[in-house]
């Protein structure tokens, strides 16, 4: 019996209808595609009314197949599958074809766009006839969650879940949790002390009964899928017995080897070979840095080992792989600062009094290397004039095209701290001042009041090449004041570069491990930029904080909480649906050639020696279909993407191409033909 196909062409307001003649496409479907019994165009298919329309047509017109030509299936396939279900049709008898992202939005010529839309609809309608009803599979959700990254976003997510009674495994790469916020002195716009608001959260996480905290650890491998991920974590060797150490700090105090701390102190201060990055670190268990330790260098010293009251030092400790099973994963790996040496005209690394933002944070931090005194690198001179340069490595196609969002505010914060602490003249060089969150503009107004010189112009160079006597001994900032149109030179004592927030150095790598993708800039791609900003395209993996895109602390906290809420929802539901798109082998026709045997990266194909046939282990198969196209005998079936479906789709897509000639029946017979 022929199928009864319903075709629905969406206008998406004017998103589609503005370019594609949707009525014409619907007309084409009803007149030219076999078995189409209903073809309609409608303003918003995803609206309630749109969905109802599909439901009712299924019931009234007895549709057996549905095609929706609208946006990307990644957006609304679920919506329309639900509509089919509601109408009493198996949801897998729907096909969605994309005439918005792939058509109306990217083609200039309305005629060509309409023609392409017809082809796509034709392809979809031909395909859908071969689709088969499938039953979704459900799996239990493991209630434990993995959070990667212990910055403010990760901490918030961890606490939300743990407080709700769910187990969390938190993995942090560095020796302590806290992230970048732990390095700051004050936070804009309220200027509360960063440590005062952060450390309580840190210790709460450290002591929470529902949290398993793994610091100095990294994600090694993720397998499985939503509901049941299996995760391998590398616990790097601290060289300190975690359970024995009481955090007394004697080892740190007595260790004779001092090195520059490029991590927490951003190169502004020193630490020991065995160290806790900062006094409030969580956990309070030191890490021994084998690269600087005298024992590892030349088998001497052992001071720490000798003096440790609980004998917790373990020179022979090795990395360890810890395996955990979790149901969901939240990634909150934050950012890394822009490398300012990449803009040599700003002199960073060459001119002593040019600083990065993070360096300055440490410089004015009361717990920092100068105890909060703002002085030049000579350790004593208080700067009388300071230039703050915005957009260093941001809004610059040579580096990062995006706006880092927070640096204008951080620059204002610095200007305020400088005026407050040193009374210096502060020049702030900006392209645009971006202060678009609650109370931020007010903060800008306050700084205008405080007398900061705002110069509108992107700085051209920072140099020590003097031209005038008054420049001697100064660091000169050269720039066009674009408001007057004049080229100016500003001799100052100190320059601060507001470097961009960049994706973590290993963001792509980690993304690959978890199966999520990055934007062109390198930040993780959310499922929907407006409506689903903390989910990813991979079910069960969520993102929060700056790893999703530059943002400030409040926004990071919001995302941490949002991701936790999404995970909590999954846990409460207890079960999650898995697409039944899997491969299966027709064993009676398999000849056991074993070509397919090493096709599957998930080892989902096994060979039955006694019967000499291969078999797919459904639970392991992820439905990529690679084995399907490898089988020389064609006996592997790929559900929802089988050959007949794709062949029909190809045929449909080429409905307007010259048909193959010389097929019997249609052959230009010379008059001998029977019947």
């Amino acid at each position: 019996m022929a199928e009864r196909v319903g075709v629905y062409v969406c206008h998406c307001g004017s998103n589609i209808a503005g370019k594609v003649d949707v009525a014409d496409v619907a007309k084409f479907a009803s007149e030219h595609i076999k078995d189409v019994v209903v073809a309609r165009d409608y303003k918003f298919m995803c609206s309630d009314l749109g969905q109802k329309m599909v439901e009712e047509d299924i019931k009234k017109e007895g549709l057996t197949r549905v095609v929706v030509a609208a946006c990307s299936p990644h957006l609304h396939e679920k919506t329309f599958r639900r509509a089919c279900s509601n109408g009493g049709l198996n949801p897998y008898l729907l096909d969605m074809t994309n005439i918005r992202e792939h058509c109306s939005w990217v083609h200039k010529d309305p005629v060509a766009a309409t023609e392409k839309a017809k082809s796509l609809v034709s392809a979809s309608a031909e395909r859908v006839k071969f689709q088969q009803p499938l039953e979704p599979m459900y799996v239990d959700v493991n209630p434990t969650t993995l959070v990667v990254g212990g910055g403010i976003a990760g901490l918030q997510a961890t606490l939300e879940l743990a407080d709700a009674g769910h187990k969390v495994v938190l993995v942090e790469r560095l020796p302590s949790i806290g992230g970048h916020m732990a390095q700051f002195d004050k936070t804009f716009p309220t200027l509360d002390c960063s440590a005062c608001i952060l450390t309580p959260k840190m210790s709460e996480v450290g002591q929470h009964e529902n949290v398993r905290l793994l610091t100095y650890a990294e994600l090694e491998e993720v397998t499985g899928s939503v509901g049941n991920f299996h995760v391998k974590i590398r616990q790097k060797a601290r060289k300190v017995d975690f359970d024995l150490c009481t955090g007394c700090g004697i080892c740190v105090e007595k260790c004779p080897r001092k090195v520059v701390d490029t991590e927490f102190e951003a190169g502004m201060g020193m630490r020991k070979a065995i160290y806790m990055p900062f006094p409030q670190a969580v956990p309070r268990v030191p890490v021994l840095d084998t690269e600087s330790c005298i024992w590892f260098e030349r088998q001497r010293c052992q001071t720490c080992e000798k003096l440790c009251p609980t004998k917790a030092i373990r020179f022979d400790q090795e990395d360890e792989i810890i395996e955990v099973d979790v149901g969901n994963i939240i990634i909150a790996t934050g950012w890394k600062p822009f490398d300012c040496t990449k803009i040599p005209q700003y002199g960073y690394g060459r001119l002593p009094n040019v600083y990065t933002g993070m360096e300055f944070e440490r410089l004015c931090n009361a717990a920092g290397p100068t105890s909060g005194k703002i002085v030049l690198r000579d350790g004593k001179t208080v700067p009388k004039s300071v230039a703050i340069i915005h957009c260093v490595g941001s809004r610059d196609l040579n580096h990062n095209p995006y706006c880092s969002g927070i640096c204008c505010m951080a620059a204002l914060k610095f200007a305020h701290l400088l005026i407050e602490k040193t009374g210096a003249q502060v020049y702030s060089f900006y392209i645009d001042i971006r202060t678009n969150q609650k109370d931020y503009e007010e903060f800008y107004q306050r700084l205008l009041q405080e007398g900061v010189h705002f110069v509108r112009g992107k700085v051209s160079e920072v140099t020590d090449a003097t031209r005038r006597p008054d420049e001697t001994g100064k660091t000169i900032v050269q720039c066009e004041d674009t408001l007057t149109g004049r080229q100016e030179r500003y001799p100052v004592d100190m320059v601060i570069l507001m470097g961009a927030l960049e994706p973590q150095f290993d963001a792509r790598e980690l993304g690959l491990k978890c199966g999520i993708s990055c934007s062109m800039a390198g930040f993780y791609t959310e499922r929907h930029p407006k409506l689903d900003p903390v989910a990813t395209m991979t079910d069960g993996i969520f993102i929060a904080g700056v790893c999703q895109g530059p943002k400030d602390i409040p926004a990071s906290v919001v995302q941490g909480a949002a991701a936790a809420a999404r995970v909590a929802g999954m846990i409460t539901k207890g079960k999650v649906m898995i697409e039944p798109i899997v491969a299966s082998i027709r064993e009676e026709d398999c000849s056991g050639c074993r070509i397919c045997n090493n096709m599957c990266p998930y080892n989902a194909i096994e060979f039955d020696e006694t019967r000499a046939v291969s078999r797919v282990i459904t639970a392991l198969c992820k439905g990529c279909g690679t084995c399907v196209s490898a089988c020389p005998a064609g006996v592997i079936e790929g559900a929802h993407f089988n050959n007949s479906q794709i062949f029909a789709e190809i045929e449909g897509a080429l409905w307007d191409a010259v048909p193959p000639a010389g097929v019997p029946g249609e052959s230009e017979s010379a008059g001998v033909s029977a019947s």
Binding site: I343, P344, R350, E461, T463, A465
Partner: protein, 298 residues
């Protein structure tokens, strides 16, 4: 090692010292420069102000007449280097440029596919292909005690040199450190010498030259090393005029880096044409390096 060599008009005439010293140095260092047969002027900056396509076509002729075995073309002059390189790149990136230039070339029976010839600057060749070890081996007269200011100028390092930093190049600095000289951290090393401004607004031009000379004086350099004929001409020949314009008394010798490199390799002054500059470099070199076998000429 064999390279095609594009000396350019300046090296044929006013800056013969550059040409001669390059060839002399090549002999000592053991690489061969084969002059491109029948090359024509690169048009400097002037053609681009008149007709973009004529400019690129005139330049492209030089690339097109390279033999198939001439895969690397060495240009010592900054303007020539930039123009050749820029044309190659424009042709590679813009298909329109590619087809139009080739249409023009076809009128002369020529054709050029971008990427066919790799245009390189002499400094790149010496720094990269010869390298530190080989150079150190060949030093006859270490430059110990001589304070040099390496001056790169604009057009070699910007915008597409492909071998050094565009803002703060270091390759010449390193080269002369290997040779034993005291290389000053010359902050204006990639600033502008004024180019042809001397002919357009002398006030503006002299100011640019002054900044370069002042900075060298401030850093107590004995001499400035150039790698472009225009820079050398502006800093050297105009030095007296600049002095009188600003009521200063500049006495800063300006020579091509290959000339001093030659001295370090044991060549005498005459061989590397020290003495062709207007502000003499010979005396200060002699004074700083003391008696050495190389100091027969001058």
């Amino acid at each position: 090692m064999k390279y095609a060599y594009y000396p350019g008009c300046s090296l044929e005439a006013g800056s013969a010292a550059y040409d001669v010293s390059v060839r002399a140095v090549a002999k000592v260092l053991g690489f061969e420069l084969e002059e491109l047969d029948d090359w024509n002027c690169c048009g400097a900056t002037e053609y681009f102000s008149q007709d973009e396509l004529v400019a690129t076509s005139v330049i492209a002729r030089n690339l097109a007449i390279c033999r198939p075995d001439q895969k690397e073309l060495i240009a010592p002059c900054a303007a020539c280097f930039l123009n050749l390189k820029k044309t190659d790149q424009l042709m590679a990136e813009h298909s329109e440029v590619r087809s139009k230039v080739n249409e023009a070339l076809a009128a002369g029976g020529l054709h050029y596919d971008p990427g066919q010839v790799r245009v390189r600057h002499l400094l790149d060749l010496i720094y990269t292909d010869i390298g530190e070890a080989a150079l150190r081996e060949k030093i006859k007269q270490p430059l110990t005690g001589l304070r040099v200011a390496p001056y790169y100028g604009c057009q070699v390092v910007r915008p597409m040199n492909g071998f050094d930093n565009t803002e703060y190049p270091m390759k010449m600095d390193e080269l002369f450190t290997w040779l034993g000289a005291e290389v000053v951290d010359y902050p204006v090393k990639a600033h502008c010498c004024g180019g042809h401004m001397t002919q357009i607004s002398e006030g503006a031009a002299y100011e640019l030259i002054r900044r370069l000379l002042d900075s060298a004086v401030e850093h107590e350099a004995d001499l400035i090393l150039c790698m472009c004929p225009m820079c050398q001409l502006n800093l050297d020949a105009y030095q007296a005029l600049v002095s009188s314009y600003f009521q200063k008394n500049f006495q800063m010798p300006i020579i091509f880096f290959t000339q001093l490199l030659g001295v370090a390799l044991g060549l005498d002054f005459e061989t590397v044409k020290i003495g062709k500059e207007i502000v003499s470099a010979g005396p200060v070199i002699k004074a700083k390096l003391g008696a050495a076998p190389s100091q027969t000429g001058a």
